[in-house]
Amino acid sequence: MKRVEKEDAPPSADEQCQLIQAVATARDRSAFAELFTHFAPRVKSFLMRSGLTDTIAEEVTQETMLAMWRKASYFDPSRAGLSTWIFTIARNQRIDRLRRGRVQTTNSLFDPSDEQDAPLSGEDITIAAEREQQVRTALGTLSDEQATIVRLSYFSEKPHAEIARELGIPLGTVKSRIRLALNRLRSLLDGDL
């Protein structure tokens, strides 16, 4: 596996798939390093935006990347793109960390990211690449205000009232922007527009 040293040329979705497959089948450490270089700083940003401190975010990023190494053979490119798969691992590691943090006395061995997905049914089979492309297009057409709200919904557990205070807008406006953004995403994702 060739090594891409250029910082400003992130691996394309195809290259990402090749890298994770090299990790899965050949336990290729340089492919892991490349994926780490691309994803770890982004995962840490995501974790910090969802409220973890720098130190905890750093640790959970490590755990996410190690989980990526361990579970690489479970990655199925027909189900999701690599960034989506890593997003779900980071999300689950974060949940797990919050749960462990809250109950120090409980010996929590449960790692939600160990859960296997339900088997695919006929209705599930949308080509993942096509889906990711649709999503990219859908996000690109949101207004700045709608995109802000979508981001806040992903990265914050804050209730709407608190989001409204932070943005300095009425609660009703937050709720209607969320509804509009979701409607817009839904129609774009459903291919109605």
Binding site: S50, T84, N92, F110, E123, L189
Partner: protein, 217 residues
């Protein structure tokens, strides 16, 4: 199985984003397990998350972050395979539980009222989550009530109906503060559902009032 009542898009988004509380997330996971439409929808919301991740600015990592990760690679794989599997205690309730609940501790049926039983569900690592299985006898009329917090209810067996419609196995009801209703259990059989209440602080609402004196939540 035709499913008529689904979680809202906002709920599916928050579930995909990992920002739902543990109890509500469990009920949604059970729904998604049985609902291909919501599974597909949820995959799309996860793809939105993947896209947002790809667009994230790059946070500064500790200088030795990659080196430490590389050192851990071999340790990590052996440690995880050696990790013991958690076997939760689950009382035999006479129903087949969804896969999404296999890591939960499940208590025995306990009396809650005439023809009405409940069982405490505990989520690993989230003992404060207010989740329970409820079982009502065929034809049982529950008292009319409103809601203060969000309550999610997923029908596992039998049916319920109220002013808004009928709820069959696989259906999920999201009841918020705008819902006032009087559910009635279908006459064909007992009804079993999984219910979760939002909020960590106090128990409000109908289920809360019923459960408060009985439950050590």
């Amino acid at each position: 199985m035709t499913i008529h009542h689904h979680p809202s898009d906002e709920t599916l988004l928050r579930h995909a984003a990992g920002t739902l509380s543990a109890g509500l997330a469990l009920v949604v996971a059970v729904h998604i397990e049985g609902c291909a439409a919501c599974r597909a929808r949820s995959a799309r919301f996860e793809a939105v998350g993947g896209e947002l991740l790809e667009d994230m600015p790059q946070a500064r990592l500790a200088p030795d972050a990659l080196g430490r990760a590389l050192e851990q690679l071999d340790l990590g794989s052996s440690a995880s395979s050696a990790r013991p599997t958690n076997v939760p205690r689950q009382a035999a309730l006479g129903i087949k539980l969804p896969q999404a609940m296999r890591q939960c501790e499940i208590g025995p049926w306990r009396w809650l009222g005439p023809g009405f039983k409940w069982s405490k569900v505990e989520i690993a690592g989230s003992p404060q989550a207010k989740v329970m299985l409820l079982k009502g006898r065929a034809g049982l009329r529950l008292p009319a009530h409103g809601h203060t917090d969000m309550e999610f209810m997923q029908i596992l067996f039998g049916s319920l109906s109220d002013e808004r419609g009928q709820y069959l196995p696989g259906d999920l009801d999201e009841a918020g503060s705008d819902v006032d209703h009087q559910p009635i259990v279908g006459t064909e059989s007992d009804c079993v559902c999984l219910a979760a209440l939002e909020g960590d602080t106090r128990l409000h609402g109908f289920l809360g009032r019923l459960l408060r004196p009985l439950v050590g939540f």
